[in-house]
């Protein structure tokens, strides 16, 4: 046994003996770190005294009532939905086409297409955001609404593709051969065999795209002019200029949307599809 080994041996033995316990400690600690702030947020939305008093004197639904009678906040939700719903539809359609093309065809520029569909994740949001405002508003002079929808499409394509592409790749293409062998042409095969089998993945991609678009802030913040804010922009203004307890309620709304969407997406695919990368 070398000198180094003699020094390290006790540590090695300790690690071997207590590895499992240490792992449990790490998991519990990190999950607490991730979820406690959210728990506090939900809890505070029922707090009577507002933002600045912890622990609260008593619990109340008052802020929910304030939120529900606040037209500005409700308008922001409507504004967000009028952007997110079409953006999600377009994004899912385009991502499905990307997945189909990349999975099925070999064509010049195929790897460029894949790169282009991944890059929006990598380029810092603020960089793309200002590039879009320069080009959409500055150069093209697009209406605000169109600019924002396009921005949301670009933002969500990489994530939707990330979910939809593996669905196509794991689809057994011999099923298509079997279908053609049994007399169905390409279109009928796509309609009757391919689509039913990849549909859960496409829906999951759509749910995640919607969640992302519903939460999207940076692109919207730059591209959208001073008109009706989306909910994230609205809440940003609230936090920056006049924090009210209502923000806690809106946070719960965001939380509910995200949790239900992601859980639905997960139940449709496997969690590791979303976990990729």
């Amino acid at each position: 046994m070398s000198a180094v080994d003699r020094v390290t041996a006790p540590f090695e033995r300790f690690a071997q003996a207590h590895a499992s316990r240490m792992a449990t400690v790490v998991i519990v600690a990190v999950l607490a770190f991730l979820w406690l702030p959210i728990a506090v947020l939900v809890f505070m939305s029922f707090a009577d005294g507002g933002v600045l008093s912890f622990p609260p004197d008593q619990l109340t639904l008052r802020w929910y009532r304030v939120f529900l009678s606040n037209d500005a906040a409700l308008d922001a939700i409507v504004t967000t939905l009028t952007i997110s719903i079409p953006a999600t539809g377009i994004s899912v359609a385009l991502s499905t086409m990307i997945a189909y093309a990349v999975d099925r065809y070999v064509f010049p520029g195929r790897s460029w297409l894949q790169l282009l569909a991944t890059l929006p994740i990598i380029v810092p949001l603020v960089v793309t955001g200002i590039a879009m405002v320069l080009f959409f508003n500055g150069t093209l002079g697009l209406p605000d609404y169109v600019s924002v929808v396009i921005a949301h499409v670009i933002r969500t394509i990489p994530f939707a593709t990330l979910v939809i592409l593996p669905t196509f790749m794991s689809f057994d293409r011999r099923l298509e051969e079997a279908s053609k062998d049994l007399g169905a042409d390409e279109f009928e095969t796509f309609r009757q065999v391919t689509l039913p089998n990849v549909f859960p993945g496409i829906v999951a991609g759509g749910l995640l795209a919607f969640t992302l678009s519903f939460n999207e802030f940076v692109y919207t913040y730059f591209v959208k002019g001073s008109g009706d804010p989306t909910l994230p922009v609205y809440i940003w203004n609230q936090i920056r200029y006049n924090v009210t307890p209502e923000v806690n309620v809106i946070s719960v709304v965001f939380l509910a949307v995200a949790v239900s969407m992601v859980l639905a997406a997960v139940s449709l695919t496997r969690v590791d599809l979303i976990a990729r990368r």
Binding site: R174, K180, D181, A184, Q192, P196, N197
Partner: protein, 377 residues
């Protein structure tokens, strides 16, 4: 009348020639197997018949009509896929009715024909299940029914039984034969498993390296293999290396493991010249083993059309009703013999004998004629 006619069929993938100038016919109502090791191109042949691959060259005619170039869904051919490819999102009945639906058969007729097919493959009452709820053997039956219900001219099989265990496979083999006879359909079956191929086929097409090695009935292939490859691939064979020492009208002289033997001329399927390196092949089940106490190292003689030599038993293994012996012979190297008797032990001295008519001699693969090699050294 030949239902399927394949002529000059060639498929190249880049530089790789997967299928090389293949000709064969399948008659109406026949059960033909394409047999070959993996990578021999057999599946490619099948996929070209089905329409999933376009041949580089050659013709495929079904019922005297050229079908190369027409898409799979327009060919009167249905396939049972290797992994079955049952539609996971459809029920068993919907799987079977899929082809009928594509050709616009009305729903009630579809239902009736599907029911009949389920009966045929003995899966009555399984129509509403999904494929994943079935066992491997049941899934095979669904795949078969799905192909047969369309009453195609030809059913193709891409090794569908290879995933089953031995017992189930043997059962499915006999089911296949029964169904083929009942439906009077023509089957073209691709496999690497000679046991399956020998059991079910009327005729076999042996493929190696993209080229046809031999086409014939099971008996022809077994008893008169056209090449060392076929001899090896169809059943077991003893191959003893040798060198041609003399060729005359009736016999060929061979130097085998140091000893001189002579064999009938017609044991060789090809012309041989002096100094050619050859394999002398004999089937283990054609080798007889008898007890002896003679040390007969000189007695390698062809007497009355029969070879005999002496040797020592080196290994033995029971194979059910037969026993297989590994025997170190005095003149023919190590031979394996399959006999009914279990009477011999390791180290026993025995006499080994076989009919000269059962011997086949092939020139060794890939070896240059002897004088070239000598010139080099």
């Amino acid at each position: 009348m030949s239902l399927l006619r394949v002529r000059g069929l060639t498929k190249e993938f880049g530089d790789l020639v997967a299928v090389d100038d293949v000709d064969f016919d399948v008659a109406d109502g026949e059960f033909v197997s394409i047999l070959g090791p993996s990578g021999s191109g057999k599946s490619t042949v099948l996929r070209m018949v089905a329409g999933f691959e376009e041949p580089t060259e050659g013709e495929i005619a079904l019922d005297d009509v050229e079908i190369v170039g027409s898409p799979p869904f327009e060919r009167d051919v249905n396939m049972v896929f290797q992994d079955l490819a049952l539609f996971p999102h459809l029920t068993v009945a919907e799987n079977i009715g899929y082809g009928l639906k594509q050709s616009g058969v009305p729903a009630d007729e579809r239902r009736e024909r599907t029911e009949r097919m389920l009966e045929m493959v003995r899966l009555e009452g399984y129509g509403d299940r999904t494929p994943t709820e079935l066992s491997g053997g049941e899934q095979q039956r669904v795949a078969l029914a799905r192909a047969l219900v369309n009453e195609p001219a030809l059913v193709l099989f891409d090794e569908p039984l290879s995933s089953l265990d031995r017992k189930l496979r043997q059962h499915m083999q006999s089911e296949l034969q029964r169904i083929q006879v009942e439906t009077e359909t023509t089957f073209l079956y691709v496999t690497h498993d000679q046991e399956v191929a020998l059991a079910v086929s009327d005729r076999l097409v042996v493929l190696d390296d993209g080229e046809i090695q031999q086409v014939g009935t099971v008996e022809e292939l077994y008893e008169e293999p056209a090449s060392r490859f076929v001899a090896d691939f169809i059943g077991d064979v003893n191959a003893v290396e040798g060198r041609v020492t003399a060729v005359d009208d009736g016999t060929i002289g061979l130097d085998v493991d140091g000893g001189e033997v002579s064999i009938p001329r017609d044991a060789a399927v090809e012309d041989l010249a002096v100094d050619d390196a050859v394999d002398v092949c004999i089937r283990p089940f054609q080798v007889r083993v008898e007890p002896t106490d003679v040390d007969d190292s000189a007695g390698d003689a062809l007497v009355a059309g029969e070879f005999s030599t002496t040797g020592v038993v080196r290994s033995r293994s029971y194979q059910g009703s037969d026993s297989q012996y590994g025997i170190e012979t005095d003149r023919w190297g190590r031979l394996s013999a399959e006999v009914r008797s279990a009477a011999f032990d390791v180290d026993d001295r025995v006499t080994v004998a076989w009919d000269a008519a059962d011997v086949h001699v092939y020139r060794r693969d890939g070896e240059e004629p002897a004088d070239d090699r000598d010139g080099g050294s």
